[in-house]
C-alpha cells in the first residue's frame, strides 16, 4: 500500500477515535432487514462499537418493533443492566398507559437507564393523536425524556403538531428505508419553526447535507446515530469527522448534544 494511503487511513481513524462518538441509534436483536454483518449478544455488540470508535450508545431492541414492545423492552433492559456505557431506548404503545399512569411507567424506565422513548405509529397501528399517546407525550415533556420517531412511521404534519403542542419535548427524527434527506425541503422549514425538533444524522447523507444544516441552524440539534450493527458506522461518522464546520460543532454532534439531552432527564 502506498505510504500516503496508509497515512490517510491512520489519520482518519485517529480523528474518529478522538471524537469519542456517543451513538443514539444502536440495536440489539435480529436485523429488521437482511444484513451482511451481525453481532449476536451484548458483548459482541460492544466490541463491534469499540472497533468503530464508538464509546457509548443508546440501544434499542428490534424485538420491540417487530414483535411486542413490552417484551422487547424487557429483553433490552435486562441485557444492558449494570453497563455504564449503555443506555436504553424503550418503545411505547398506547395500552402501556392503562396499567399504571405514564409517570410510573417512565420513572421505572428511567431507573433502568432508559433515556429515550421510541414510537412506531405505523408498525404498531396507532395515531400520534391517540389520547393515551398525548398523555404520554405530556408526561415525557415533564420528565424531559426525548421522543425518537422514524419519519417513515408517521407524517411530518404529525411531527410538526407534536413539536407545536409540546414545545418543551425534545423530538428527534430519524428513519430507515427511504433516507431522511429526501424530506429535506420539509425539515428545513420545520427546523426553522420548531426549536425542539432534532435530527439524528445517519440519514442526512446527501451531498453537503450535514455541512449545510450546521451552517444554517448551528450544531446543537443534530445527533450522531449509526444503526449499528446493520449499517456501517463509518458512513455516518466520516461526514462529521471531515465536516466543514468547527471542532466544537463536531464534538456537539458526536457526543455533547446527546449527553446534554440525557443529562436533562428528570428522575422524579
Amino acid at each position: 500500500m502506498s505510504g500516503a494511503l496508509e497515512q490517510r487511513i491512520l489519520e482518519y481513524r485517529e480523528r474518529r477515535d478522538a471524537l469519542e462518538f456517543f451513538d443514539l441509534n444502536c440495536w440489539l436483536g435480529a436485523p429488521l432487514e437482511p444484513a451482511f454483518g451481525t453481532f449476536e449478544g451484548l458483548s459482541a455488540l460492544k466490541n463491534g462499537l469499540r472497533r468503530y470508535g464508538v464509546r457509548r450508545a443508546i440501544v434499542s431492541h428490534t424485538m420491540g418493533v417487530r414483535y411486542d414492545a413490552e417484551t422487547g423492552n424487557r429483553e433490552l433492559l435486562e441485557a444492558i443492566r449494570g453497563d455504564d456505557s449503555l443506555f436504553a431506548s424503550a418503545i411505547a404503545v398506547p395500552e402501556m398507559g392503562d396499567k399504571q399512569p405514564w409517570l410510573g411507567v417512565l420513572q421505572g424506565w428511567i431507573a433502568s437507564r432508559v433515556r429515550v422513548v421510541r414510537l412506531f405509529p405505523a408498525a404498531h397501528n396507532f395515531s400520534l393523536a391517540d389520547g393515551r399517546i398525548l398523555k404520554l407525550l405530556e408526561t415525557m415533556q415533564g420528565a424531559r425524556l426525548p421522543l425518537l420517531v422514524w419519519h417513515t412511521q408517521t407524517s411530518w404534519r404529525d411531527i410538526a403538531r407534536v413539536c407545536s403542542d409540546f414545545p418543551e419535548l425534545r423530538v428527534i427524527v430519524e428513519g430507515t428505508g427511504r433516507k431522511l434527506f429526501y424530506d429535506n425541503r420539509t425539515y428545513y422549514s420545520l427546523l426553522e419553526q420548531f426549536q425542539n425538533l432534532h435530527l439524528e444524522t445517519h440519514g442526512v447523507t446527501n451531498y453537503l447535507g450535514l455541512d449545510d444544516l450546521v451552517g444554517r441552524f448551528g450544531s446543537s440539534r443534530f445527533l450522531f446515530g449509526s444503526v449499528f450493527p446493520h449499517l456501517d458506522p463509518n458512513s455516518a461518522i466520516m461526514p462529521i469527522v471531515e465536516g466543514v464546520f468547527s471542532e466544537e460543532d463536531k464534538r456537539n454532534i458526536a457526543h455533547d448534544n446527546l449527553e446534554r439531552l440525557i443529562a436533562e432527564v428528570r428522575w422524579s
Binding site: I9, A35, Y52, T205, N206, M238
Partner: protein, 255 residues
C-alpha cells in the same frame, strides 16, 4: 489519489441540493483527495439533454479535465443514440450512463441493443444504475442486476459498471453473482448503500479488482462511502484497487 467513477453534475429534482456548483465540487474533491471524477449530468438523466450537454462540457473545461463525463442514453427516445454519439465525439466524454429505472425500461429490453453496439464500437464503458426490487420504489425493478445478464454476456468486450452494486441486500448479492459470472462486469460503491460488511462481502465474492469507488456526488456525499472503504477489513492492496487502480483499468487510460 482517488478516482471517483460515479458522480453527477446538476441537481436531483427530488430534494434540496445545497450547492451543485463546479467550484464547490472541485473544493470537495481537493479536500478528500479525489483526483478525478466521472460525472453524468442529472439534466441529461431527466430529459433536459441540451442543458446537460452544455453544462457538462463547461464543467470539463472549468475543471481542467478533472471532471470527466458520461453521456446518457435513454432507450425511450429515438434520437438518443445520435446524441450519445455527438457526446462521444466531444472532448471529455469517456463513458455512457444508462438508468433503466428513470427511463422505465427493463435493462434487457431490445431497445438497449444499439447502445451496447455503440459502446463496443467506441470502446467505452457503460455505467448503469442497479438496485434491488423495492416496494417503496417499484421502478427499481427495471434495474435489478439479473436484467443486465443478456447484454453483459453478448458484449464481453464492453465493461459494465453496476452502479450502487445492486443497491440493497438482495441486489448486492445478485450484483456480485453477475460480476462473478462475467469478466466484463464490475460494481461500484456509490449511493446510500451502507450495509455493514458490504465492502468486505463484495471483495470476498468477486475480488477487489472488480469493485470501484463511486460516490454519487452531487446526490450523495462522498465522505459516506470513503469512510467505509478506508476503514474496511480488507487487505491494503484491495483498498488501492478500489480507490483508483480499477477505475484506471476500466477507463483504459482516460483517467
Amino acid at each position: 489519489m482517488i478516482l471517483d467513477a460515479h458522480c453527477h453534475l446538476g441537481c436531483s429534482p427530488q430534494f434540496r441540493c445545497p450547492d451543485a456548483s463546479v467550484e464547490t465540487i472541485l473544493k470537495v474533491m481537493d479536500r478528500l483527495g479525489i483526483e478525478r471524477a466521472v460525472c453524468a449530468h442529472q439534466a441529461m438523466l431527466y430529459g433536459e439533454w441540451e442543458l446537460g450537454f452544455r453544462e457538462s462540457v463547461e464543467a470539463h473545461e472549468k475543471s481542467g479535465g478533472r471532471l470527466l463525463l458520461y453521456t446518457v442514453f435513454d432507450p425511450t427516445q429515438p434520437q438518443s443514440l445520435s446524441l450519445v454519439e455527438r457526446c462521444l465525439d466531444t472532448r471529455g466524454f469517456v463513458g455512457i450512463k444508462i438508468h433503466p429505472s428513470i427511463h422505465g425500461c427493463f435493462a434487457d429490453d431490445d431497445r438497449y441493443e444499439i447502445v451496447w453496439q455503440l459502446a463496443a464500437r467506441r470502446n467505452v464503458p457503460i455505467l448503469t444504475h442497479s438496485w434491488d426490487i423495492s416496494e417503496q420504489n417499484p421502478a427499481q425493478k427495471f434495474s435489478f442486476p439479473d436484467r443486465f445478464e443478456r447484454y453483459a454476456a453478448s458484449y464481453p468486450d464492453v465493461a459494465l459498471i453496476l452502479g450502487h452494486a445492486g443497491g440493497r441486500y438482495r441486489g448486492h448479492i445478485a450484483a456480485a453473482s453477475l460480476a462473478k459470472r462475467h469478466a466484463n462486469v464490475f460494481v461500484d460503491l456509490s449511493g446510500d448503500c451502507y450495509c455493514l460488511g458490504l465492502v468486505e462481502y463484495l471483495v470476498a465474492q468477486i475480488g477487489s479488482e472488480k469493485v470501484l469507488f463511486g460516490s454519487d456526488l452531487t446526490w450523495i456525499d462522498p465522505r459516506t462511502q470513503l469512510g467505509m472503504v478506508l476503514d474496511a477489513d480488507i487487505p491494503a492492496g484491495a483498498k488501492e484497487n478500489i480507490l483508483y487502480l480499477n477505475a484506471k483499468r476500466v477507463f483504459s487510460g482516460s483517467l
